[in-house]
């Protein structure tokens, strides 16, 4: 043993000088020279700083331009508070409705083969290709004073446009596809074998959904809800058309930002805007965390 050990050491010692000196790894034939790498990275980052990072910083810089005191006062102003409440209320109605719809749509599209399936899938995505302004306009044409149903609604004293129902409808329209388009590909990938097994073993349809399907899709569902909520709270164009801009009554946070901005009340406008920017940052962070941590439980297109 000892001899062998010493032999090994001797051999090792003898070999050492022959071992090639560490060399930087050769540049692979399919890579760029370091200088070009650095230049491309530099240009890309500079572009992102100018177009994405600076606007974000500008929101907070402008909001705090008058100091924390002014900032907090701007947020406590009654109209700002009303706008925050309206935004939260709108999202609280629109997001759960789209959530239920998204689950239903994903269940029938991902689990069954039926005639007209691809047409239905295309129609669900439709609101994403419609300009927000047109999304709002269709409701004005339908429910507005001079709209198709306008006279009937006025007779029955129902107000939809320039009131909460119109704002909620417009918000639902623009956030319509978010949950469904996350869940459909996810549930298609997962297949329905586990659900079939549960049913065969005697579980009811509801039990199968609650105990088998829901746990499988929960992170995908959360992902869709996050994006849906961010858009619901931040939507501007569609809501601007149906809101009527009645201050303190039908102005959501983005509309309140517009009003303050047009009154040259910059600090207050950016203060309310900073809350929306914070929401965007929270959404992005949560979204990135989901993509990193639960990549296996999201649709393949979301994996990084």
């Amino acid at each position: 043993m000892a001899v062998e050990a010493s032999l090994d050491t001797a051999q090792d010692a003898g070999r050492l000088p022959a071992r090639p000196a560490p060399r930087p790894p050769a540049r692979p034939a399919t890579g760029e020279r370091p200088a070009i790498r650095l230049a491309l990275t530099g240009i890309a980052l500079a572009f992102l700083v100018v177009f994405l990072f600076l606007p974000l910083v500008a929101v907070f810089a402008q909001a705090l331009a008058g100091g924390w005191q002014t900032y907090l006062e701007a947020l406590q102003e009654p109209d700002a508070q009303a706008a925050i409440r309206l935004t939260l209320l709108t999202a609280a109605i629109a997001v759960p409705l789209n959530c239920v719809f998204g689950i239903c749509a994903a269940w029938c599209i991902a689990r069954f083969e039926f005639t007209g399936k691809s047409l239905l899938t295309t129609l669900i995505d439709l609101p994403f290709s419609v300009s927000p302004v047109i999304s709002g306009m269709v409701y004005v044409l339908l429910f507005g004073l001079h709209g198709l149903l306008g006279p009937w609604l006025r007779e029955h004293d129902i107000q939809i446009v320039f009131a909460l129902p119109g704002i909620v409808l417009a918000t639902i329209f623009v956030t319509f596809p978010f949950v469904a388009r996350e869940l459909i590909p996810l549930m298609q990938e997962q297949g329905s074998e586990e659900e079939e097994a549960a049913l065969v073993m005697g579980a009811s349809g509801w039990q199968t959904f609650l105990w088998v399907t829901l746990p499988k899709i929960r992170w995908g569902l959360l992902y869709g809800v996050l994006l849906c909520n961010a858009r619901a709270m931040g939507e501007f164009g569609a809501v601007a058309v149906v809101s009527g801009h009645i201050r303190g009554e039908t102005t959501t946070m983005p509309l309140h930002v517009e009003i303050l901005y047009n009154e040259y009340n910059m600090v207050a406008a950016f203060a309310v805007a900073s809350l929306l920017a914070l929401l965007a940052l929270v959404t992005l962070t949560a979204k990135a965390l989901l993509e990193w941590r639960y990549a296996d439980e999201l649709a393949a297109t979301r994996r990084h």
């Binding site: 177009f51 606007p55 929101v59 290709s129 409701y139 959904f209």
Partner: protein
């Protein structure tokens, strides 16, 4: 009814219920309102429709909207490809944060983006203050619209090109290198043709989004009729004047443009899938 439409029987329950809810909700929220727009447009008649559209102000708005959207789409095609390339191929500190930040335009409300960009590019802003002494006015000109639309469209190009670039096999590039091609030659003749469908899809998505964009544009545009007035704003102006005929005609034309682009995007995506076998 379920038996009629179902192509393959399934032991899973809930088909009728979920399909019913889906179709009812889709019809109430999306299809019936869009049909109302179509009905209004049909009510205008052929000459009424074109009389509302073929006015100098409307035509100028269409020129501004399409021109700026095209410019922003092209800027995004170039820089979006560069950003996707750098994110996929290179490692650098803060890589993950930069990757997450690319989605900011999806998450940041458009009105917030609009006032932030205006504050940056106005004469007294951080960027405007640098550019204006050089004689370059961005805010309150069509150039400002291009800036806002570039912001809004960037993630579309990056997120479409990124996965394709990631899945690209190294073998073809190696073969090109072995055969004596330089990197630029390899990029232009091997890599670019492979990612072209994805790049075109991203460009079209960004372009389509830019056509309908309202919130981020109106603050920075200056909104001068004939010069920097976009179509969505013109629709809102018509609605506020109760000119429903005008708004309907312009809106229908925009909607047709959107649907044509949607069709183009679907064809491009089919091309991408055929190319990558995914």
């Amino acid at each position: 009814m379920t038996g009629l439409v179902l192509k393959r029987p399934s032991i899973l329950p809930g088909f009728g219920l979920t399909l019913g809810i889906t179709i009812a909700y889709l019809s109430l929220v999306v299809l019936i309102p869009l049909a109302a727009l179509a009905a209004n447009a049909a009510g205008l008649g052929w000459s009424g429709f074109w009389n509302a559209v073929l006015t100098p102000r409307v035509l100028a708005a269409f020129r501004v909207t399409f021109g700026t959207s095209l410019a922003a789409g092209l800027i995004n095609a170039v820089f979006g490809l560069l950003v996707a390339w750098v994110l996929v191929r290179y490692e650098f500190p803060g890589h993950r944060i930069v990757d997450a930040l690319v989605d900011l335009p999806f998450a940041l409300p458009t009105a917030v983006a609009g006032i932030a960009l205006t504050a940056l590019y106005a004469g007294n802003g951080w960027i405007g203050g640098l550019l204006e002494p050089m004689g370059l006015k961005v805010a309150f000109t069509p150039l400002g619209i291009v800036v806002a639309l570039t912001f809004v469209g960037l993630p579309f190009v990056v997120r479409t090109v990124q996965p394709v670039l990631q899945d690209l096999e190294a073998e073809q590039e190696e073969a090109a290198a072995v055969l004596g091609a330089g990197r630029l030659q390899t990029f232009l003749r091997v890599i670019l043709p492979a990612i072209l469908p994805a790049l075109l899809t991203g460009f079209t998505l960004a372009f389509a989004r830019a056509l309908g964009e309202y919130g981020s544009v109106i603050f920075i545009a200056g909104n001068l009729p004939m010069v920097s007035e976009i179509v969505p704003l013109l629709i809102i102006i018509k609605l506020e004047q109760f000119d429903y005929a005008g708004a309907t005609a312009i809106g229908t034309l925009m909607l047709m443009a959107s649907f044509a682009l949607l069709l183009a995007i679907n064809l491009l995506q089919r091309w991408t899938r055929a190319r990558h076998g995914g």
